[in-house]
Symmetry: C2
Subunit: 410 residues, 2 copies
């Protein structure tokens, strides 16, 4: 729950986007990698920005991630991100790496900036090579703007099996000045920890040094993007990048700055918002499932249990089938490795208490089934191990998930 | 590969079952817990047998597991197993425990043996109470025999969403005498480690002391039952029990007995056979998927990687869709936490090399697609980390999996 004070300082910006913070431009174009949809996007800041990034933990990191890490490590700043969809440029060896470098170079030339200020991201099929002639033409012809239109094009260009574009925007007040944080993301399948099983791009006009921004992003990722799961598969390609260009013109944030936590909370809200949009748009999903675990021994335990529940295929299919099958939630808690006492565990589906003292609890089955028809389903687990809390987000498992993934590549 | 010598000593018994070893009887009956199918089964030995058992690692262990553990710990022997399907008797508190004790007592009375020689197993829906009047009548009226008919009835009575009965039988020669090992199993959903995410009952007329039998079962379970996965969910109820009644009349086996490893190999073959049958009969499955990982740093790493691949929803749906999508296999290897060098990893789908030296390999897509139409699909991964090997078994993920689990309980 937000406090009244926090509410004054942090506000959601309806229809805000990655171009809402001052000094950011974006655009997207149909370069021809996909049949008809946009497939190349660029997001950039008018001046070099502080940067933070987190990457997939998959051992098989795709070529663009290597290039992006090199850029950031060399310049400690970032000014532009170029993204293509359709092809992941993963498992493509030396040629794939050269293609990613070429994408970086073409973008730097287009924007007339240093190559090391450009990040590269790709998403799509593994093991195919980029059609560089199309990408080159796309980067050269792409139009961009600081209006919502540019952000919308960019959001479209980064999608794969996603059904909707994903964005979020919050405003916070720092030293009496308005600081805006905008985000765009893609992600629908291969969604699971560890970091950042999706693409997320966040812009802000805050003035934050790179190391502090990195620390904040890492911390926030663990409780937002890393707590969503669609299918338990971790991609080779995914990353989240934050660019902070300082255009809001407050003094640099430090950990001791009175509004540091306000800014961090705003950044967290943008990340959480994007994470939930990704979970809700999980391949074939009809619902967002939100699991809250309270009374855990540690935050880690609470997060593990929440994620196990939201990741259970049996829980996911039961929710799709409007079946108030709390027994499958019990099973998921039980195999989570976290510390739990079965006889002191309570399970709520929405407002309905289903399990307590090791026993089924009486509840109105019709009402509970009706509750599961909501597009946002909440499951709450109360443990008796301590006072820590955690959350995770996912979606139901449907026929369409199978359909999409049995035929995605062909 | 079996050696010629091994082949002479170990033979599969076609149509063999849990009643093929000397001195075992079985039967099953429709007691009325399910609409029309058999739902109560009994398996027993004419004399008390050495026993080994492994249980689910789920924190929420069902009542029958507690009763079975008590029996085995008190008597170190076992003579009978009573099983019901339809209701798991899990999350049923003190009443559930009393019901499990009552099942044990009724079975002991029916067979006129000590209660502590009886194991109890249940499988089905979590959180409902057993209808004890029906179970009582079932146990009292059930007929049993040492012929295959009895075994078949027992195999039927333990099923839930399974589509076929599961059994296996091997013969080994010990001291020139024929020793038979038979098995029956159930399992279709909630199939994942750790131990023994299914019910398995194995009988043998071998003469093996309880501690040695336990040690062998534990070891074998880790590379058979614990290496299958259908949906990643670990049940609250599952166990594997072996009864060895010594009726083959050889001298007691010890670790130094020249045929100990022959017997152990026979036991392993029965377990592996049952495990593969369970994987193949995964809910909604159309195929058995077998993954072999070679060249790993350790057996554990090989097993982890094999299991990650076979458990990946994206790999499972691709196989269902006849899509030679080796990129998803790469992703699964990459997020497995095991030691791998991406550039020295080879991936075969059937006989087709798809990935090597960090690059896609040319293969005939049509032939490979044709290969995926087989009912038994093999994936092989060659690492360059060491000489250890591991295997795992699973199935494809289909529309029917969703259908079965979206409507199982209602």
């Amino acid at each position: 729950m937000k406090t009244a004070e926090k509410e004054q300082l942090i506000q959601k910006v309806e229809n805000g986007s990655v171009t809402t913070p001052k000094g950011f431009f974006a655009g997207g174009i149909h370069a021809g990698l996909r049949y008809s949809k946009k497939d190349v996007g660029i997001l950039f800041s008018t001046k070099p920005a502080s940067v933070a990034a987190v990457y997939t933990q998959n051992h098989f990191q795709a070529a663009p991630l290597k290039v992006t890490q090199e850029s950031i490590s060399k310049s400690q700043k970032l000014q532009a991100i170029v993204v293509n969809s359709a092809i992941a440029n993963a498992c493509t060896g030396e040629k794939g790496l050269q293609d990613a470098y070429e994408m970086r170079k073409l973008t730097a030339e287009r924007l007339n900036i240093d190559e090391n200020l450009v990040a590269v991201a790709s998403t799509g099929v593994i093991g195919e090579f980029l059609q560089m002639d199309k990408i080159k033409k796309g980067i050269q012809e792409l139009q961009y703007s600081s209006f919502d239109e540019g952000a919308k094009e960019f959001q479209e260009a980064i999608l794969t099996t996603d059904t909707i574009i994903k964005g979020s925007c919050y405003e916070v007040i720092v030293e009496g000045k308005k600081v805006t944080i905008g985000g765009a993301a893609k992600g629908s399948g291969m969604i699971h920890p560890n970091m950042a099983t999706m693409l997320g791009f966040i812009t802000t006009d805050a003035n934050v040094p790179t190391p502090l921004l990195q620390q904040a992003l890492k911390e926030i990722t663990d409780v937002t993007f890393n707590q969503i799961t669609v299918d338990g598969d971790t991609s080779t390609n995914d990353m989240v990048i934050v660019m902070a260009n300082g255009e809001a013109e407050h003094s640099p944030l430090t950990e001791n700055h009175p509004e540091w936590h306000t800014f961090k909370e705003g950044l967290k809200l943008v990340c959480e918002d994007l994470a939930k949009q990704i979970a809700r748009d999980g391949e074939g999903a009809t619902k967002l499932v939100e699991v809250t675990v309270k009374g855990a021994n540690s935050k880690q335990d609470a997060n593990i249990i929440a994620k196990k529940i939201v990741g259970s295929s049996l829980v996911k299919t039961a929710i799709y089938g409007l079946d108030v099958n709390w027994g499958r939630i019990v099973a998921a808690i039980g195999y989570s490795d976290a510390k739990v006492n079965p006889d002191e565990t309570e399970i709520y589906i929405g407002p309905y208490l289903t399990f307590k003292n090791g026993l089924p609890q009486p509840f109105n089955e019709e009402d509970a089934t009706e509750y599961l028809k909501n597009e946002h389903v909440e499951i709450t687990v109360l443990l008796s191990e301590g006072n820590e809390e955690g959350k995770a987000w996912g979606c139901d498992l449907t026929y369409d998930y199978v359909k999409i993934n049995a035929s995605y590549r062909t």
